[in-house]
């Protein structure tokens, strides 16, 4: 059963334990019709957490061979923050090529797209989609899904941070008064120009307020954000 990505994200948003992330990532993998999706998180104190669809044999193999040291995806993404197609990484060393052959043999795929995430206070995470297909097909896939993959990557990270043991409720998820005003007027069906006028701000500023609200709500687009804000009672129309 392939659900819409909004529905899967809704379930993720309501998760109360880390196990639910695994369920969500499997459903998203099916939805995107790729071989694998993986989310991997390293906190500032070195604690790790991961979920994803890689086969157990590959995960074990990766640990046994200490591939963390040669994996071009890790080397190319650690301490950075731009999303990267695996083709852009440096696979020229013998160790990297051996690693790649092994990964392909374990069904990871010959293509990948990874989103490094920089969270608060030294937290680092990586969200990856991998697949086996031609370069042309992969270019088409990433061109049409890059935006959502980036947003979903951050949504996973936001959830993982929320569920981190001992962590208090993330304050930055609350909407500011300006964002509530903007989202309320969007929900009431006013045009951007009318809303900007009402709030005495420019349409560009309004766009940023809506974008920051969307990000905090973990929504994929404005309509989705309005639905979430309404269902959580954050705005009343």
């Amino acid at each position: 059963m392939i659900a819409r990505r909004e529905v899967i994200l809704e379930a993720l948003g309501q998760a109360h334990e880390l196990e639910a992330l695994q369920d969500s990532i499997v459903r998203l993998r099916d939805h995107f019709r790729v071989d694998h999706l993986v989310y991997h998180w390293v906190s500032s104190n070195g604690e790790q957490y991961g979920c994803g669809t890689y086969p157990d044999a590959w995960v074990q193999r990766y640990l046994d061979k200490d591939y963390l040291r040669v994996d071009p995806v890790i080397i190319g993404c650690f301490q950075r923050f731009h999303p990267v197609d695996w083709k852009r990484l440096d696979w020229s060393s013998k160790a990297a090529r051996g690693f790649q052959a092994d990964a392909i043999a374990h069904g990871i795929g010959n293509q990948g797209f990874s989103v490094p995430i920089r969270g608060p206070i030294g937290q680092f995470a990586l969200f990856t989609a991998s697949h086996h297909c031609s370069d042309e097909d992969w270019a088409r896939f990433t061109a049409s899904n890059r935006r959502d993959l980036i947003l979903i990557a951050h949504e996973f990270n936001q959830k993982a941070l929320e569920l981190e043991p001992g962590r208090s409720q993330e304050q930055s998820r609350a909407l500011s008064p300006r964002e509530i005003d903007a989202m309320t007027l969007v929900a009431m069906g006013y045009s951007r120009a009318q809303i900007a006028d009402t709030l005495s701000i420019s349409e560009h500023t309004l766009r940023v307020y809506i974008e920051s609200a969307r990000s905090k709500l973990g929504a994929l687009n404005t309509t989705h954000a309005v639905a979430k804000a309404l269902s959580r009672g954050l705005i009343v129309v």
């Binding site: 301490q79 083709k87 852009r88 370069d135 270019a139 980036i150 560009h204 920051s212």
Partner: protein, 216 residues
């Protein structure tokens, strides 16, 4: 040429690195009179340089710094959210689709086209990494420079008057703006794309890529 360098790779370009931090001291401390820290080497650094930002740098033919800007994701610590919330009505601008651009700096002897070249590079980053906006802090004197290169930000909020006016601004980049900035910089778009590919590995996802690109 334009270089894109993360802070932890800057040591590979010692001349470029040194002259960039010198020029920043010159611009922000001496010319603009900002309260920034300059070390005994004459270099200006702040806490955000320690967060491994991505620098976009115009390198002059002699290998020194002609101009630069500093990029950070707004999902982590950044200047607008840490220090300038009062300018955005308390709205924390945090999105994977919005990056922060700060420390926009031009060397005293920078060629006139340098600012436009940096803007063009900013556009490459947007296209290449799916960034939809930049947000940044700038002062009154930058307004004219941004207008001159055809890349004026939308002002989200300001404080202060006259020369001391500080604003938080937002940049977007349409294809038309990109062409205009490219022309002003006198840089063919293919060249600009090539510099980007040199920094981040060949084989953009939107290009048709031969297998050999894997070792680029």
């Amino acid at each position: 040429m334009i270089r894109y360098i993360y802070a932890n790779d800057l040591h590979q370009y010692p001349k470029l690195r040194r002259s960039m931090f010198h020029d920043r001291a010159d611009q922000f401390k001496i010319r603009l009179g900002w309260e920034v820290q300059v070390d005994d080497q004459g270099e200006e650094h702040d806490e955000y340089d320690a967060l491994n930002p991505l620098y976009v740098i115009w390198e002059k033919p002699d290998g020194t710094h002609g101009g630069s800007m500093r990029l950070l994701p707004t999902t982590g610590p950044c200047m607008v959210n840490d220090h300038f919330l009062d300018l955005t009505d308390g709205v924390r601008i945090s999105s994977p689709l919005i990056w922060e651009c700060t420390r926009f700096c031009l060397a005293r002897d920078a060629e006139p086209r340098t600012a436009a070249a940096l803007m063009l590079a900013g556009g490459e980053v947007m296209t290449g990494f799916g960034v939809e906006h930049y947000v940044g802090v700038f002062d009154a004197r930058m307004v004219r420079i941004y207008r001159m290169i055809g890349s004026s930000p939308e002002v989200l909020g300001s404080v202060g008057e006259g020369r001391d006016r500080i604003s938080v601004g937002l940049w977007s980049f349409s294809d038309e703006a990109r062409k205009a900035v490219g022309e002003r910089a006198g840089i063919p778009l293919e060249t600009s794309r090539l510099w980007f590919d040199m920094a981040f590995g060949g084989g953009a996802s939107s290009d048709v890529t031969p297998q050999v690109a894997q070792s680029a």
